[in-house]
């Protein structure tokens, strides 16, 4: 689960990490007030969307007067912002964060994420913070493995602070920020906790100028209070609805809707469509059971996508028998009243009986002999 920068900074503050003073604004008027309230000559107006690359896309603007701050607010609020992470459709900016301007000496990068190979969270840090961080290879970054229970030990935090080039009291402050970031990561079951940039101010203070925190969805049951940070505006409505029915759905931009049991087979089905010259409209895993209710819900979600011109159902019936799955598909097709061609590929237990049920139904369903046949038929039907 992703959250906004202003929410990440609230969590940072709670951990005792210094962040710029700032106010969240939803209207142009609030932006102007915030600029005045922060009483500095300079403020920064930052679009709050769940995507990186805001700076380069014009989502972060510096204001030297109340009027200018309001101008920036007007240019951002309610508008669509496209960054390299949002895709061409962009995201609508509903909130901006107005922060005090600060005199920055140096910028660093610090982030904690789970390293799969080590099977443990790792702190990554670099003295080259800022917007170009993606171009720095991981191997070139400072790396410290977190202890699974103790987190980042004080000596590790100090070592990284010194290696970043921090000195004296600033090094001590930097180490404290890194240790706090590690505590936050472990305490809240994060999948990412990032400060980019972590800055050294001209007065020697160290501060988190930007923050990004993502939570492990599987651990949210331990943190019910985090649920209120969820922003439904930022989530795809169809994906959220699918999730509420225990369906795993990801919308793509092709024309062939897919319904498959199992994540690996679902990806493989997208791949084989692509292999035969088509384009998948979605990833959709209905799970092992493929009951009438779930299949019906899955069909509903697929046909709501206007790009869908054909549907490919690929089910490997292992434990659940193919005749039961066929009945599920038939029930769902009747309930949804499909208007696009449907290709079904069933394999596994009682497959003959399952195929026969589909054929005898009188419904316009093409039964495919195998995965290749299914993909070719679906690609043809979507043309």
């Amino acid at each position: 689960m992703k959250i906004h920068e202003y929410q990440a900074k609230a969590l940072f503050r709670r951990q005792g990490m210094p962040v710029p003073r700032g106010l969240l604004c939803r209207t142009v008027e609030e932006v102007g007030k915030a600029h005045a309230q922060l009483d500095g000559a300079v403020s920064v107006v930052k679009a709050q969307i769940h995507a990186g690359g805001r700076g380069k896309a014009g989502g972060v603007k510096i204001a030297k007067s109340r009027e200018q701050a309001e101008q920036h607010g007007r240019a951002l609020l309610g508008q669509i912002l496209c960054t390299h992470q949002t895709g061409p459709e962009g995201r609508r900016v509903m909130k901006v964060l107005v922060e005090e301007g600060l005199a920055i000496d140096r910028e660093f990068y610090a982030a904690i994420a789970v390293d799969r190979k080590r099977g443990a969270p790792v702190l990554l840090a670099s003295s080259e913070g800022g917007t170009e961080i993606e171009s720095i290879p991981r191997e070139k970054m400072l790396q410290e493995t977190l202890h699974p229970h103790e987190g980042l030990l004080p000596f590790q935090a100090r070592a990284v602070a010194y290696a970043l080039g921090l000195k004296g009291a600033s090094a001590g402050e930097g180490a404290k920020v890194l240790a706090a970031l590690a505590r936050l990561f472990l305490d809240l079951d994060c999948s990412l906790a990032e400060i980019n940039p972590l800055v050294l101010l001209e007065d020697g203070k160290v501060l988190a100028l930007d923050g990004k925190v993502t939570f492990d969805e599987n651990a949210l049951f331990r943190h019910p209070d985090l649920e209120e940070m969820r922003d439904p505006e930022e989530e795809d409505a169809a994906e959220a609805r699918a999730a509420s029915h225990q369906l795993s759905y990801v919308k793509l931009d092709g024309s062939i809707g897919c319904m498959v049991n199992g994540a690996g087979l679902a990806m493989a089905t997208m791949d084989i469509i692509r292999h035969h010259g088509g384009a998948p409209a979605n990833f959709l895993d209905v799970g092992g059971g493929a009951s009438v209710e779930r299949v019906t819900e899955a069909f509903k979600i697929i046909v709501e996508d206007r790009n869908v011109r054909a549907i490919l159902v690929n089910i490997f019936g292992g434990i659940v028998k193919c005749d039961l799955i066929a009945e599920g598909i038939l029930g769902a097709v009747k309930a949804v009243s499909l208007e696009v061609p449907l290709v079904v590929r069933l394999e596994g237990t009682n497959v003959e009986r399952g195929r026969q049920l589909l054929k005898e139904s009188g419904l316009p369903i093409q039964t495919a002999a195998d995965m290749t046949d299914a993909a070719k038929r679906a690609v043809e039907a979507a043309r």
Binding site: V114, A120, P121, P148, G264, L265, M267, D271
Partner: protein
């Protein structure tokens, strides 16, 4: 001959809910020795002739169970795995999906320290056709034979096994390592065992986007030259970056974990990589010369 499990393996089932019961029954019907179940509070009773214990320690002491099959719900699964390890069970298979990643970080540290072997989580388990089935895969699609299968996926593995069996090519052992970012067995752990197993003549390796386990497998194959053909399919070539494709671990992040990079690494190590998931069986048949 088989890898890791055999007719002699004695299984304790942890988590006797609906799924646990259903699959415990299926495993037993396949011929697996299911010798005990653990359900706190139900110790001293029995289910379908299988004795139930309150703790894994008691189950192991009474039955000599040497493999645990874990179905315990995600919030409590880490504790169950640690319990099995602490009780001295040498091999734990975790089917449960949705375990918090940091739980698995802590589990892995503890199990590595104790030397407990762990398969999963979020995996279909392991089967040695004709020997034992310790997992949720449909037993009947398998047949004994020369091919080892290792995969991060469930149904896609069944698909590959189906293609093999349809050609009369049986399997020595099929291992599902699961789709989570932090897991027990990885590809290399399985490749090492298949390389040493004299009855395994070839290996099917099914990977997917996310992480670098396939690249690690490629590096291992290049360095050790096991002398057995490896056929591979990598799922997710058409997946967009930054989107999780069902499995917690199936995500292209920060430019790494792409299918094309994995395919290239495996090809450079001499692995036969097929672009279509429908070609896995045929490619293995060709590689074995059958």
């Amino acid at each position: 001959m088989s890898v890791l499990v055999s007719k002699a393996t004695r299984v304790v089932v942890q988590g006797l809910g609906e799924a646990g019961k259903f699959h415990a029954r299926q495993c037993r019907e396949y011929g697996t020795q299911v010798v005990a179940a653990v359900k706190p509070g139900a110790g001293g009773t029995a289910w379908e002739g299988i004795p139930i214990f309150d703790t894994v320690r008691a189950a192991r002491k009474a039955t000599g169970a040497d493999c645990s099959l874990v179905f315990v719900p995600a919030p409590f699964a880490a504790d169950a795995i640690l319990e099995a390890s602490e009780a001295g069970v040498p091999f734990v298979v975790t089917i449960t999906e949705g375990i918090p990643t940091l739980d698995m970080v802590r589990v892995r540290a503890a199990l590595d320290a104790r030397g407990t072997l762990h398969l999963g989580p979020n995996c279909p388990g392991i089967i040695s056709p004709g020997e034992a089935k310790i997992g949720i895969m449909p037993g009947y699609i398998h047949q004994p034979g020369p091919v080892g299968v290792v995969s991060r996926s469930g149904t896609l593995t069944y698909e590959a096994v189906w293609q093999l069996s349809a050609r009369g090519i049986g399997q020595s052992t099929c291992i599902g390592i699961g789709g989570d970012p932090v897991q027990g067995f990885n590809f290399v752990d399985c490749l090492e065992r298949f390389a040493k197993d004299p009855k395994t003549k070839g290996v099917v390796l099914i990977g997917e986007i996310g992480g670098s386990a396939e690249e690690d497998a490629a590096a291992w194959i290049a360095a050790h030259r096991p002398g057995k053909p490896v056929v591979s399919f990598i799922a997710g070539a058409s997946a967009p970056p930054g989107k999780r494709m069902g499995h917690a671990g199936a995500i292209i992040a920060g430019g790494s974990g792409k299918a094309e990079d994995k395919k290239r690494a495996l090809q450079e190590a001499g692995v036969v990589v097929v672009d279509s998931p429908a070609e896995i069986g045929a490619a293995m048949a060709a590689a074995l010369g059958s």
